[in-house]
């Protein structure tokens, strides 16, 4: 390069030459002599730059500014949700000591991250009503894939039954994780009026190959599954596991899966202090019961409490590493060799800030706002909200009878409001239906504006 680069301290020609002299070479290319000539890349990579910081900031902000500003957060959910991220969370996760550290393989010098993750595991357990959590996986969807495989390993059975109304994206990821392992996935019907899992159909489909039953609660379409104890019983009667996927915010208000006999609980930790970021990074919650057999089959990293060799001081370390790929190689429970540590840290800070009362209050506020929105939208002519006659938490279905979902969507977007997600392709049997989501970020004014613009669009 023509001048030294700020990220490359030894790019100063004199320094570079001094170093080359010290090791006895006269050109850098000597170091690359093992690369056969015919494989050498000639010329320069066609990558724009180098940009100075000021130029970069202009260029990249300019690109990002092409994303539209909306009048309020989008009314979108389904697995990533617009919740507020407290300033303290962002402050902590941007600390260089956390942000720029590697996996804590040297526990003496990384107690900070180890203790934080232990706290994350503990906080998540309290929220889910479970006893053991891992240090997190990539997201809810991959957590589902891992949970299905874990259930199959534990039961030595090969079928996963799942509620038809789970997220199609998560189903696709589950299949990518289960098919190579010879696990089949079978969907269970739902009650057309309430959306609730059809217990009779579940019983019919259970057999001696069933490794687990999976439901999402609240469901992908936002209603609360009420027959959870009965589902758990049906699963356990056939020695199958019960896997539940959750939106953790809902557990401020709803009974946690640990209290209705779930064996593995997964979910999306994004709303616990992580920004939406167009869907990543996310935070895969993953918890199970405190049974040695289960814990040994759990995928991913787990942090445990221990003590120092001298002085018996409290200390934290990675536990049960013999399940993991860097020790077990081809016999590992999963190939995962990271967690979403920084996102887990964000969630630990978030749950600490919230406390028991905060998380309850938040869940109530969210559910109340959603209820208000659902009722107001449902009062519009030619609209039904929700489609299913069940209790909804923060997401709900809106069915359009006189316009298409897309017409409604474009009408709103014209006025800088982003409506719900179209379910037309995902669930054609629901016809012109969209999935709306309301959180504490949507004020009454935002909701009223949504309703009034939607009214105009439907009349037009």
């Amino acid at each position: 390069m023509s001048k030294p680069h700020p990220y490359l301290p030894n790019s100063v020609p004199e320094i570079k030459e001094r170093m080359m002299e010290e090791i006895g070479i006269s050109s850098i290319d000597e170091l690359y002599s093992d690369i056969p000539d015919k494989l050498k890349f000639r010329g320069e990579l066609d990558v724009p730059g180098p940009y100075s910081e000021a130029e970069l900031k202009n260029e990249v902000s300019g690109t990002l500014e092409k994303n539209w500003g909306l009048r309020c957060p989008p009314f979108l959910g389904g697995g990533v949700w617009p919740h507020y991220v407290p300033a303290v969370v962002d402050e902590i996760v941007s600390r260089a000591e956390f942000l720029t550290s590697y996996t804590p393989y040297q526990p003496e010098i990384t107690q900070g991250m180890l203790q934080s993750i232990f706290e994350y595991q503990s906080l998540v357990c309290e929220l889910l009503g479970m006893e053991v959590s891992n240090a997190s996986v990539y997201d809810w969807a991959t957590g589902l894939g891992e949970a299905a495989r874990m259930a199959s390993r534990l039961t030595r059975k090969t079928t996963i039954l799942f509620s038809t109304l789970i997220s199609p994206n998560r189903l696709s990821v589950m299949k990518a994780y289960t098919e190579p392992a010879g696990i089949t996935t079978v969907q269970v019907d739902y009650d057309k009026t309430t959306g609730q899992l059809d217990l009779e159909d579940l019983k019919e489909k259970m057999d001696d190959k069933t490794a687990a039953v999976y439901i999402e609660n609240p469901s992908y379409l936002g209603f609360v599954e009420e027959g959870v104890e009965a589902i758990a019983e049906v699963a356990h009667d056939s020695k199958a596991l019960f896997i539940v996927g959750v939106d953790p915010i809902s557990l401020g208000l709803l009974k946690p899966p640990g209290e209705y006999d779930a064996d593995i609980v997964i979910g999306e930790g994004q709303p616990l202090g992580n920004h939406m970021n167009y869907g990543g990074p996310l935070l895969g919650l993953f918890a199970c019961r405190n049974e040695p057999k289960m814990i040994r089959q759990m995928p991913g990293r787990i942090i445990g409490l221990t003590e120092t060799l001298e002085g018996s001081k409290r200390a934290f370390a990675m536990a049960l590493q013999t399940r993991e790929q860097h020790i077990r190689r081809e016999k590992a429970t999963s190939n995962i060799c990271s967690n979403q540590a920084l996102c887990a840290l964000a969630s630990a800070v978030y749950l600490s800030l919230m406390g028991p009362k905060g998380i309850r209050e938040l869940a109530e506020v969210v559910a109340s706002r959603a209820r208000y929105a659902m009722r107001r939208i449902g009062e519009l002519p030619g609209v039904r909200a929700p489609v299913f006659n069940s209790f909804h938490f923060k997401e709900f279905t809106v069915k359009f009878r006189t316009k298409s979902v897309n017409e409604a969507h474009l009408g709103l977007l014209d006025r800088s409001i982003h409506g719900g997600k179209s379910l037309v392709k995902e669930f054609p049997e629901l016809e012109e239906t969209a999935l709306y989501c309301v959180t504490e970020m949507h004020t009454k004014r935002d909701i009223d504006r949504l309703v009034s613009v939607l009214g105009e669009v439907l009349e037009g």
Partner: protein, 511 residues
């Protein structure tokens, strides 16, 4: 040069659960407007019987400043590449994580975007993803790519799924059951292959660290699905036979998988696509400077040659006439591998890094990473107790693997002890005991972002440890003493009788 008397902070910090008092809150939840309260019934009355939470979650009750201080205290008991001294962790490419990348990645026009938003409303995001993808293809020499994998291992899993889909389409999946992996490979390689339903076959390394071609020829056949390789390999040596290896595998109908963990050595010098690889994953959190975050989130995009493009996950970003959109149109796709589009915020940092260096700068970064590692290797290989096994006389690439087996035999000081003693000087340890084929391995990767002074400080520390090992080994064996805590009982952390994985179980332990 004198070594530093480093002292890491130790606040004797309690667990967050041990702080706080009843009634305190750390965050004020926005209240409902009175008119809204009037308009809806009490929500707790509406929750179906039996589904209402009756026992509050046992979370701590702490105020904002307590939470802030607690986690700042914990951060001070941690070590990062931007806050530390030198972080020569082999295979992990702990380079400087540029601050401007963080600033731009915090822009609300990226953080507050929902993944299901209308394409028209997210043109900025789609544009940078598209451009990042283009740069990624250029650097790797591949023809199409998916940005969806959230980590390197995740990319590996996707890569093997692509191999699977390719053979399945040709009706050969039943017979092609084996993935060949060199004995020096990362542990994720065999784990990924097995997870995707294959058997693994190990091939040995020869004296220069390369793949044993004879051994390779003897294991390939109609049962071979593919081969996974990193080049430069985990010894930091470039395998000159790479095109021969690719020919052997391709001739019998197998596919070549490139583990991009070591790409930092060769940007702009040679490309996996040109070496004969069909599939590549790259760790953006290594080569493209995005922070490791204490273990994640990373990102592991996967590039492929055209013959595998049909199988890539959906959606991908397409462009026409300057308009970007997500395309779901890949009928033969393996489906989705992540719930959404992968770790988009991480990708922005990789994109800004790429622009900050440009094509020319990426090449210089690789060259300097190689110069830095050879500088260390040359200065340390003849120091008493250390050696540089395999590949006698060969230059190293971005990393070098020293062995301390002589020191161990002569003084009882092991690679583990050396790494702990380095911590006492404020220097992060290298990767130890990897690759498995080197006894008492110390895998050192300084990266291009370390100034000469830091390299010299590391070299000085390694020399000092050698001196101590031969004069006063106890001094090394008792390390670390300057870190937040000393050596800990790792057996206790996993023993069935003492294992404790959460605060809840801690409360039940007989203490």
């Amino acid at each position: 040069m004198s070594l530093r008397r480093y002292r890491q902070a130790d606040w004797d910090e309690p667990l967050i659960f041990e702080l706080g008092m009843e009634g305190r809150v750390g965050f004020a939840v926005p209240s409902l407007e009175p008119e809204l309260v009037d308009a809806v019934d009490d929500i707790t009355e509406l929750v179906p019987a039996g589904m209402l939470r009756t026992r509050p979650a046992n979370l701590p009750e702490v105020s904002e400043i307590q939470v802030l201080r607690h986690y700042i205290h914990l951060s001070q008991a941690n070590y990062g590449v931007n806050s530390g001294l030198i972080y020569p962790l082999g295979s992990c490419t702990m380079k400087y994580n540029p601050v401007i990348n963080e600033v731009l990645a915090g822009h609300p026009k990226i953080t507050e975007i929902h993944p299901d938003q209308d394409d028209a409303s997210v043109q900025g995001t789609l544009e940078f993803l598209y451009r990042l993808n283009e740069g990624f293809l250029e650097v790797t020499g591949m023809e199409d790519a998916s940005l969806q994998p959230a980590a390197g291992a995740h990319g590996e899993y996707l890569g093997i799924l692509l191999i699977r889909a390719y053979h399945a389409e040709r009706g050969e999946l039943e017979t092609r059951r084996e993935i060949i992996i060199p004995d020096s490979a990362h542990g994720t390689n065999p784990a990924s292959a097995v997870m995707a339903g294959f058997k693994t076959v190990e091939v040995p390394s020869i004296e220069d660290g390369g793949v044993d071609l004879e051994a390779l020829r003897s294991v390939v056949g109609p049962q071979t699905a593919g081969l996974m390789l990193t080049n430069p390999n985990t010894l930091g040596i470039f395998d000159s036979n790479i095109h021969k290896i690719a020919d052997i595998v391709h001739e019998i109908g197998g596919l070549m998988y490139y583990d991009g963990a070591n790409l930092n050595a060769v940007m702009g010098k040679c490309r996996p696509g040109d070496m004969g690889f069909d599939i590549v994953h790259v760790n953006l959190h290594k080569t493209f400077s995005t922070p490791h975050g204490g273990g994640g989130p990373g990102a592991g995009p996967v590039g492929v040659k055209a013959l595998l493009a049909d199988f890539l996950p959906v959606p991908t970003v397409e462009e026409s006439d300057g308009v970007y959109r997500l395309s779901w149109d890949r009928p033969k796709t393996v489906g989705k591998i992540h719930g959404y589009h992968g770790n988009v915020n991480v990708m922005l940092k990789a994109y800004t890094y790429m622009l900050t260096l440009g094509g020319e700068g990426l090449k210089e970064a690789s060259e300097l990473s190689v110069l830095n590692s050879n500088y260390i290797a040359q200065k340390l290989k003849d120091v008493k107790g250390y050696s540089l096994p395999y590949g006698e006389g060969k230059w190293r690439m971005h990393e070098a693997v020293l062995s301390a087996s002589k020191m161990n035999e002569e003084t009882g000081v092991r690679a583990l002890n050396i790494s702990k003693k380095l911590l006492d000087y404020g220097i992060h340890a290298p990767t130890t005991y990897f690759p498995l084929i080197v006894p008492e391995a110390l895998m050192i990767e300084p990266t291009e972002t370390e100034p000469l002074e830091a390299l010299d400080e590391f070299i000085e520390a390694m020399k000092m440890i050698s001196e101590l090992a031969y004069s006063d080994p106890e001094e090394v064996l008792k390390a670390p003493t300057n870190t937040t805590i000393g050596r800990l009982d790792e057996v206790r952390a996993s023993h069935p009788k003492t294992i404790c994985l959460s605060w809840g179980t801690y409360c039940k332990l007989p203490l």
